[in-house]
């Protein structure tokens, strides 16, 4: 690749001590931006449920009350949005995917790929191996408080090692599949996997 053109007079001020934790093309923020494709759904916890499916067959379902009675996991992680902001040391609490599989009586994921389904119709795909071994959870709390609807409350997927569109807001179902099926943004040209350290923003990156 040829050298990028120098932007005359641009000095930039994003070089920082934390840069080892900031993937290429990202910059740090201290607030928590909101990005969604449509209106924020209103949570109705009485009718809320969380489901795991093997193909088209339900293999686990929890009401809001049952879901919150599952063993809880807390993590503090860095998150990276494809729109180039990164936020360090975010604290989350929820139920790990390992715990959900165990509660459904499964020793391992029933298929190699997952399509996450959300209120509002949003979907995103993630390989099953990126959800297990402590790598992901369904988060219900942020910074010690119940997750705000605009940030995905009552529950969002949290897969912090991938770009944050994979951490689907308002998640309701994980569907395990034998073939990879692109989700909402992935159908629209975003990268199928989305590793921020390899800057996999768009298809072909």
């Amino acid at each position: 690749m040829s050298e990028p053109p120098i932007s005359r007079g641009f000095r930039g001020r994003g070089r920082g001590a934390s840069s080892a934790r900031v993937p290429p093309g990202q910059h740090l923020v201290t607030d928590f931006p909101v990005l969604s494709a449509g209106p924020t759904p209103e949570p109705d916890l009485k009718s809320w449920s969380f489901t795991i499916e093997d193909g088209a067959s339900p293999i686990g379902e929890w009401s809001w009350q049952q879901f919150n009675a599952l063993p809880q996991t807390e993590v503090t992680v860095d998150i990276h949005c494809v729109t180039t902001w990164s936020k360090l040391d975010t604290s989350w609490r929820g139920v790990s995917i390992d715990t959900l599989l165990e509660a459904a009586g499964l020793a391992e994921p029933p298929g190699p790929f997952v399509l996450a389904h959300c209120d509002g119709g949003y979907t995103t795909n993630v390989p099953s191996e990126d959800l297990v071994d402590g790598k992901a959870m369904v988060a219900t709390h942020y910074d010690g408080e119940p997750l705000d609807p605009e940030h995905g409350g009552p529950a969002r997927l949290l897969v912090p090692h991938l770009y944050f569109w994979k951490s689907a807001k308002w998640v309701r179902k994980l569907q395990f599949l034998d073939v990879d099926q692109p989700g909402f943004w992935e159908e629209l040209g975003y990268h199928s996997y989305g590793d921020p350290w390899r800057e996999q923003r768009y298809d072909g990156d």
Binding site: I6, F10, G14, Q26, H27, T84, G189, Y202, G204
Partner: protein, 252 residues
């Protein structure tokens, strides 16, 4: 999703843009007119990623909406100078005609309107959130579409309205476009339009009835978009027809 929302089906290469003109739209907002050899064309509502490179190799990247209509001869971006904006303070500050920077795109196939999608079209904007919506109105005019369209546009003051003259001209063509400005902080003497933040009553009186199934695009700061999208849903508009883009000083 519909078949008209075409995926980006090729690798997005970084291209070099050369600035051919800079025009101050408002005291804080600047139009950049760009020459981009190899630009593949775009749809109204899409954006680009801009990458600046400093002399020591340091790079910074941000996303900006495309302001130009799809078939315009030149690509234009409209950049608001944010007080804390590492990239925007350069693009809307030091940048001059003849300067170069990298961009790639077009990106985004969801927050997009083409004349073929039809209407009615209800656009709700706050501040520089008007940019991708302006691309839609420019496209509508260029395509000689007369689908009923309304832009409800919230600005802080009269001098903060971006594209004011062009919006006046487009709305005066008698082809079914209505533009309603609301000013939230300062009103010029004799202002007769709304003078408050966009609220449910305003969305109801200015917009189309849910029965008309308008395609709705909302773009602006997060609080405005959150409130407007929820109000529109509560007024009876189908969530699938309400498309949003949110930004804040750091989100863009």
């Amino acid at each position: 999703m519909t078949a008209t929302e075409t995926p980006v089906a090729r690798r997005l290469q970084w291209m070099t843009a050369r600035v051919t003109d800079v025009i101050d739209e408002t005291p804080r907002v600047r139009r950049l007119v760009l020459e981009i050899p190899g630009w593949p064309g775009h749809k109204a509502g899409q954006h680009v990623d801009v990458r600046l490179t400093a002399e020591d190799g340091y790079q910074a990247q941000r996303s900006y909406s495309i302001a130009a209509a799809p078939k315009a001869l030149q690509v234009t971006l409209t950049v608001e100078r944010l007080s804390d904006g590492e990239v925007s303070s350069y693009l809307a500050g030091d940048l001059r005609v003849g300067d170069q920077f990298e961009l790639r795109g077009p990106i985004g196939g969801y927050f997009v309107w083409t004349a073929a999608l039809g209407g009615p079209l209800f656009l709700v904007a706050g501040g520089s959130g008007v940019v991708p919506l302006m691309a839609m109105l420019r496209h509508r005019a260029a395509a000689k579409s007369n689908v009923p369209a309304t832009l409800l546009y919230s600005s802080r003051s009269g001098s903060d309205i971006i594209y004011r003259a062009e919006l006046d001209r487009l709305a005066g063509q008698g082809d079914g476009l209505t533009v309603v400005h609301t000013l939230t902080r300062e009103r010029p003497p004799g202002w007769s339009g709304p003078a408050r933040r966009i609220d449910r009553a305003m969305l109801q009186s200015v917009g189309f009835a849910p029965d008309a199934k308008p395609r709705i695009f909302v773009c602006g700061p997060t609080p405005l978009v959150e409130a407007a999208a929820s109000d529109l849903r509560d007024l009876g508009h189908a969530p699938q027809l309400i498309k949003t883009e949110r930004f804040g000083p750091t989100g863009r």
